[in-house]
Amino acid sequence: MDGMRFPVETLGLGRRGLAGEPLVYHCNFYNYWLQKTVLLVDGLGMEEVIQDAAAASVYACLKGLGVTDFAQAEALFSALGFGLIDLSSVSADGGMVTTSVSHYGQCLDAAAGAPFAKPQSRFDAGYAAGAGAWAHGRPSSGFRAAIQACMSVGADQGRISLVGRAASECMTTYGMGNSGRVHRAPETWAAISQERVDEAVHGLGLTGNEEGLIPRFGVMLTQHFAHFYNRLSYEFLRRMSHTGMRMAGEHLLIDAGYRCAFHTFGGIFNSAEWDALMKPLVYSREAGAHALASIVSTLGWGHWRLVEISDRRAILRLYDDYESLGFQSMYGTASRPVAFLAAGGLGGLMNLLYLGDILDKPDLDSGYFERVFEHPDAFNVHQTKSIAMGDDYSEIVADR
């Protein structure tokens, strides 16, 4: 129902958008590790960035949809896989928002592996603030949101208070932003067309269920705002630029992508959908890599094309990857490649295939993760080209 109410467009080169806002699928593992990483350094103000990025994203999306009633904002929250939110008590001055189901409040613990010391539902708070602000004609940062209770730290429901504030500056999104110069990615695997893979994956109806969640491939998916992810990643690095720790920050963003790949890609390889669509076409690890790249190309991440693949080395080219386009749209030309999620993704893919024998469908438990991660011959990844730097495509090399 909600999928019909919010029709997500598939644009060229694997981009997906709703009401002028780019969307990407990501799992609870990535959502956890990204948030954990950007909050590691005290004093960067990243808590506010998380909430403001969420508020700006939902505000722009609701504005693009042309809806002003809370029922639509609540339905969108559910359709995108964030859970169940009740905005009905919010007046022009503020009020209390509740979440009876929350991706951020309830689904990150599988990735954390340890109890939470702090609430995890900053995105929910930003969403509530942005939706409330749009509905009441305020600027996107016109409400200050405070988490009063969060299920991640034991509450039976999430509670977020909103208080009106005079906002001097508002974060804005970049809409669909720039696109790359290449209009068609080369075909590097002839076994199945990208169009057919698009049709099969989008035909799965990956939108929120009756609880507003998207449990699929052994993970909890969200169909999330690309602006949100990009703002978190690049604002984190920008604020780290004079600390001498930026490179460490980049490594950890790549690690977040690695963990995302490991669990989501691993879950896709192990799924019934893989068996139905891809298994008959995959007779080697190399074919498995091409097949997975074609599935990734349906997730809103841009088109992934492997132009070289062997047990020692892979070259991945990314066409219209959401990270590079988002960076360019927000900050202009980059001095360094910025496709951290994709870099970690390629590393995860190669290690799954060549070290973890993922095509044999192993159990994706923590022991398996550690065994593959600690392998002495694991793949390293290097970014060699970037759309954000002016190249026609972004490129990542994995080798060992």
Partner: protein, 76 residues
């Protein structure tokens, strides 16, 4: 700890007080350990940790700070 060399004052104090003097490699073993070290670097705001000899015994005060930060980054 080998006793075939002259011990530093710190090492003598640590031996007397039965305080372990671990290296970064001992606290952060393996690939996962290296990533935990990066998280501790960010948590403590100490980029210089990345450039230390990973096999050198740590100053006990520094080791305590590192272990405390490690506990924090290992929480959810």
């Amino acid at each position: 700890m080998s006793l075939d060399r002259v011990l530093s004052v710190d090492e003598v104090v640590c031996l007397a007080l039965r305080i372990s003097m671990a290296s970064l490699n001992q606290i952060f073993p393996g690939n996962l350990g290296r990533l935990k070290l990066l998280r501790v670097v960010l948590k403590l705001g100490m980029p210089e940790l990345k450039h230390m000899n990973p096999n050198q015994s740590l100053d006990p005060m520094l080791e305590r700070r590192i272990r405390q930060a490690l506990n924090e980054v290992e929480q959810g």
